[in-house]
Structures are given as C-alpha cells and as structure tokens.
C-alpha cells in the first residue's frame, strides 16, 4: 500500500519568491491539477540540500519536483545557478541508486506562471503513473 488510492506521491520543493507564488497563482486562478504534489516551501532553491531529495524518496515519495526562479531572476541573485550545478551531480547519484530520471524534475516557474506550474504537475503525475511505484532495488545496476 504505497498510498491509499495507489496514486504517486510527489514532493515539491519550491522557492518562496517565484515557484511558490506561481503555485499560489494557479490557486487564485482556480486551475485544476492533480493532488499528487505536496509542497515544502524554502526561501531559495539554493537552500535545497540534495539530502532533502533523498530523504523524500526514502520516506516514500515516487517523485521529487524542484521549482525555482528562471535563470537570472533569482531573488538572491544566483541561488538557482547553484541549484542547477548541484542537480547535475544529484542526477548521476540518483541514477546509480536505481531511481529513474523521470522521478526527479527541476523546473523554472515564475510568479506569473500559474499555468506552467499546473502543466508541470499534470505532466509529472502522468509520467509517474505510467512508471509505477518507486522500486529502486529492482533497478540498481551491478557494479
């Protein structure tokens, strides 16, 4: 019993200034998207320690979605560039752990892009539904 209705769980880590506001805008605009995503707010995507992502997978997330400001728009000047670099390493690590690349997504969503947020969540939910529950132990490659 992965979740009561067998639906994939997505943990979203959203920056306070762009993506979180974009998600709020999707709300005030009443744009519908699946309830599979649950959001943890951080001030900047630069705060996202890769261990947060691993922790989410360890706690039962089927996917993790990190969303922040577009390149050049970071409220803290350059936090999102640091995220970009960290994520490149993290992706390699997830791959080695047997976690499919579709399960981790990095997106840039501005405060005005409520529609984009809704679209990203819809897409990712559909992808994870097709992929099924996380079962990294079946994918770990032999060294």
């Amino acid at each position: 019993m992965r979740s009561p209705n067998g639906e994939p769980r997505i943990v979203g880590f959203l920056c306070n200034w762009c993506a979180y506001q974009g998600a709020d805008l999707a709300g005030t605009s009443r744009m519908h998207y699946p309830a599979n995503v649950r959001v943890v707010r951080v001030m900047c995507t630069g705060r996202i320690d890769p261990t947060f992502v691993l922790k989410a997978f360890a706690e039962g997330a089927d996917g993790v979605l990190v969303a922040g400001c577009h390149a050049g728009d970071c409220h803290y000047k350059e936090g999102n560039y640091k995220t970009m670099r960290r994520v490149a390493l993290l992706r390699k690590m997830l791959d080695q752990m047997g976690i499919e690349p579709e399960r981790f997504r990095l997106e840039w969503v501005s405060a005005g892009e409520g529609a984009k947020w809704a679209k990203v969540v819809k897409e990712m939910t559909a992808e994870l539904q097709a992929l099924g529950p996380l079962a990294w132990w079946e994918n770990v490659r032999e060294a």
């Binding site: 709300g27 649950r38 707010r41 320690d49 706690e59 039962g60 000047k77 936090g79 892009e113 996380l134």
Partner: protein
Amino acid sequence: MENDRRIGVYICHCGTNIAGTVDIEELTEYARHLPGVVVVRDYKFVCSEPGQNLIKEDIRELGLNRVVVAACSPRMHEPTFRRAVAQAGLNPYLLQIANIREQCSWVHEDGNTDKAKALVNAAAQKAYYLEPRDTREVPVNPSVLVIGGGIAGIQAALKIADATHKVYLVEREPSIGGRMIQLDKTFPTLDCSSCILTPKMASVASHPFVELMTYSEVVDVSGYVGNFRVKIRRNPRYVDESICTGCGICIQKCPWKTDSEFDMGLGKRKAIYTPFPQAVPNIPVIDTETCVYFKKGTCRACELFCEPKAIDFQQTERFEEIEVGAIIVATGYDVFDPSPIYQYGYKRLDNVVTSLEFERMCSATGPTGGEVVLKSGEAPTSVAIIHCVGSRDQNYFEYCSRVCCMYALKFAHLVKEKTEADVYQIYMDMRAYGKGFEEFYRRVSDEGVNFVRGKVAEITDQALTDEERGKLIVACEDTLLGRLVRIPVDMVVLCPAMKARADAAEMARLMNISRGADGFFLERHPKLEPISTNTDGVFVVGCAQGPKDIPDTVAQASAGAAEALALIDAGKVEVEAITAAVNEELCSGCKVCIGLCPYNAITFSEEKKVVEISDVLCKGCGVCVAACPAGAIIGRHFTDTQIFAEIEGILADARPPVAAI
C-alpha cells in the same frame, strides 16, 4: 525538553473556499492525534478578529507554545497570524502555516482532504521543531528614489516632496513628461494634455525637495528595505547644465537633422535638441549618432554660437551613488509596433498610422501643426479607427489595454472637429467603464460616427470596385449585421496594445521584483497590495504595473507615495529574522561557503579559524547551509531538522519503499 511541546492547530473554512472541497471534520479529527498537538479548532474565518481571538485565548489559557494555522497561503496571512500570536505573548516565529487553500482546496478535483491532512501533518511536524527568533529593526533612510518621469513618477515625487522628504527623480530621456506629454487631448473631458501636465513638470523640477536627474539611468541597486544604495549613470548631454541658459540658439544653428522620436518620426529634430519645446529641464542634448562633429570632427556650429560657452564635447558619462529608504518604479509602457500584423499594412501602406502618431498629428505643437492630413498633404474624407490591434489577441497580447476604446472615441471627435471626414470605429466590444466614459461614448455617437462591430481581417489597397480605387479598404465581418463589409477610407488609425517596456526584464532583475505572464511588474497581491512588490521597500505604480488611464495612474502614484511615506516616516522597519548562523564547534574552516554567498556576508576569522556570518548582511537564502560539508551552518527557520520533519509529515501516509524489500 521537546516533550513539553503544546501545539494548537487552527483550521480555517474560509467560508466555503476550503470547507467546500475539504472535509473539515475529518481533518480536525486527524490533527488531534499529531505529536504535541493539544488543541484543534476549526472556524469559518480564522483570519477574522474572533478567529484570531481563538488563537490568542488558547495561547494564554492552554499555554500553547507552537501554533499551526491551516488556511490560505503564508504569502497572504502569515504576517496577520504572526502579529496575532505575538499579541498573545508568543514569539511570532513559533507559527507555521499549512497552505490548504491556494495549493489544495482551490486546485484539486479529488484527494483534497487527504492532501490537506498531509499538509497539516507537515506543518505540525515542522512547528514541533520551530525556534523563537528575535525580530530585527533597522533605521530607515528618509529619502525616496522615483524611477521614471512620466505622470506617475511626477505625481509620486511631488507628493513625497510636499511632505518635505527628499526625492530623487530619475528619467532616462532628456526631459520628463513621459507618454502623457506626447498626447494631444485627454478623454473623456478633452482637456489638453500638456496644459494639465506642464505645470506639474515645472513644479517638480523647481521643488526644493526634488533632485531631478534626467538623461540618467539606474544601473545598480543594493541593500534592503529602508537602506538601498543606488548607482545612477548620468549620460553626457555634451551641454554643461550649470551654464546653459536654454536660449536654443544652438538648436537653431545646428544644420543636421534626423527623425524626431517625440513626434514618432513624423517630424524632424536637430542633432542638438530638446525633445519638445516645453522640455523640463530646458537643456538640450547632443545626439552623437547624428552630430557631424562626433562622426567627422567638423562643424561645431553649436559651440560657435553658444554665448555662455555651455557646449562641452569632452563630457563623459558620470556615475552617482545615492542612498534611499524606498524606491518607486514608474517606468511606464511601450506601444506595440503593429507591423508584425502584416495584413494591417502598417509601414507597408501609406496613411496607416498608429494612435501615438495620430496624437502627434493632432497636437498643435506637432509635425502638422495640429492638422489631420494624409501623406499627400490633403485632408482625409474618411477615416477608420481600428480597436484592439494586438490587444485581446491570442497571437500577441491576451489582455485588454483598457484605454483604446476611449481614446478611439476621442480621435473620432477630433477628426469630426478638424475635418469633414466620415469616421468609422471598428471595435470588438466597446468598453466605457470609467467615470464619464459612457456619457462620452453617447456624445460621440450623437456626432454621427459610424460604429462597426467586428475584428478587422485586412487593410488593403487592392480595389475591387471603382469606388474603392485609390483608397485603403478595411475588410471585416460586421458581426451585428452578420455579413462581410469592405469600407473604403483615406486614412486608418490603428490602436496598438500597451505592452511592458522592452527592458522590463532587466529592470525586474535590478529591483529584484517579479513580472506577470503579461510582462508587466507583478504586485504583491492583486487586490490588497496592488502597489507593493516582492521586495520590501520597492513599489510599482502606473503602466509599469499594467495598462491604465491617466486618472488611475495618478491615483496609483499617489498611493505609491503614501506607501513610501508610511515606510520612511516610521523611521525604522522590522526586517526578516531568517538568517544563517555558524556552529563554531562544527566549522572546519574550509571556506566553501564564502565564495557562494551573494552578499559577502561570510568572513573567515583568522583568530578562531572558523567563518562568521553577518546578521545584517545575510538575507537568509540558505545557499551556504546546503553547501556546508560539515553541516555547521544553521539556516534559521528552515533548519535541516525542521525540513526533514516537514518531509516526514508530508509523506506520513506513504510507506517508505525500503520496507518493501
């Protein structure tokens, strides 16, 4: 110690906004069993006074030491609830919000209650580990920077200066006045634009509390609310402002001409020029692209004739640094260039003009001396005015530009007044929503203007009949008659969309503010904080925020002045206490964090061999916290422990996959 957590959970119905799609009873029951929770209450509107009182009474009577509010976004009411808990004697940072409205009840068709449970669980888990923080107060610099010298910037600057506070008014063009000074008459009262604006331009320029910086641009902004440092580039005019008397002999004698930007290219100006005769300040600038001295090193006619010897070809750009407590962004809008709409023929067919070109044509000081004339110099016998060019159009701009319907009516009136021509208004919907607008619409209708409801398909010079020969033919469907019509006219006026400035993205980055999907600057809240932005102390007014007419712009600019005055008059401001701190026991002195900090807030102590973080410079982004290999940096209010607890709470109903092995 952690066993004495006493958490209160308050679940808001928000009328039916939350209660309509989330089972409040089930959620309340669920929250009762979360660790540390001693009381759970639900209420119709927790943000109301009785709602806030519920929390306050429980803090006092039940000795709560952490509070969770499950309601709207923290970006909406976190400040409200922080104030409420503080009033009951609890540290405001011991509050956590679960966003079950914007990110739950409003956006999902099913699974709302399950998700709300997870969000409340996460908030309660995080609240469990929250720590008190002292709020910090910093002094506020009492000066204000206003960017943009159009009607919005002028109005805001005047209001602040009248309250005897120093204002720096920065304008990129050689003169203040903005778009409004380009207009001829203003709807619906038909008063002359320059007659009502030039007195304001003069008073702002001569105001003892205003420092006017024209031909200047903001190039860098640092600091924070109450204490901004701003770098301004003063572009060289090649005319010494302190000596020039504004006599204009240099302009008279200059032999070199180019198209006038102010007259939308319909007229000419000299290489040394003021954009228009009533320019403020009345000091010319030399356009180095046109001036032959800058191209070939010859001429110097202006220098020869300037009696006070104010011409200075050696001038270079200068940079000035100023300190201000608040910034008002009033950078206005650009007019959409309709030439990409090929079928409308702009720049391809003669006598197809834009609204701003038509404004200049109507102006008594404009290139035609106020005459409405065709390229041939003759008066038109028929004119079509096309609404919604680029506005309300999925291919260009989805929004309504708000002013076009009314200025199109004004144009119709002016054409009737100045010529004998027939006038056709081709509109999609007539939007006459403002004070006196509907009355104006009626008045112009009574003047014998023809109204055709439809969207223009094409403007062409390909005649099908003798009657159409030599004319511009406007082809459209008249949706009221339900048939296609072809209207032959002499002149077509396009009403193009108002759009965000071409460099709005740059300005947004400079000011650290956001833009909406339409490209205009984004207000913090569309209804309750329409002037504030994401960055405390930065306000946005006028068309920089979205299309609006002059009365709305003036009202908003005055509101911007009030916001800035409220900030600087208080003398001090509370700033976010979410900063990073170093655990010196754990710091190995590797210095990884130092290069990452965008604010130079981290320094290395040679004495202690550990890093130190300045509480004043740190803005709490947390990039150093995530990077510290020793885990020695604590991101206050977003600590690893708190976020881990939040992740556990948010996934409380999912079984960890490891257990499946």
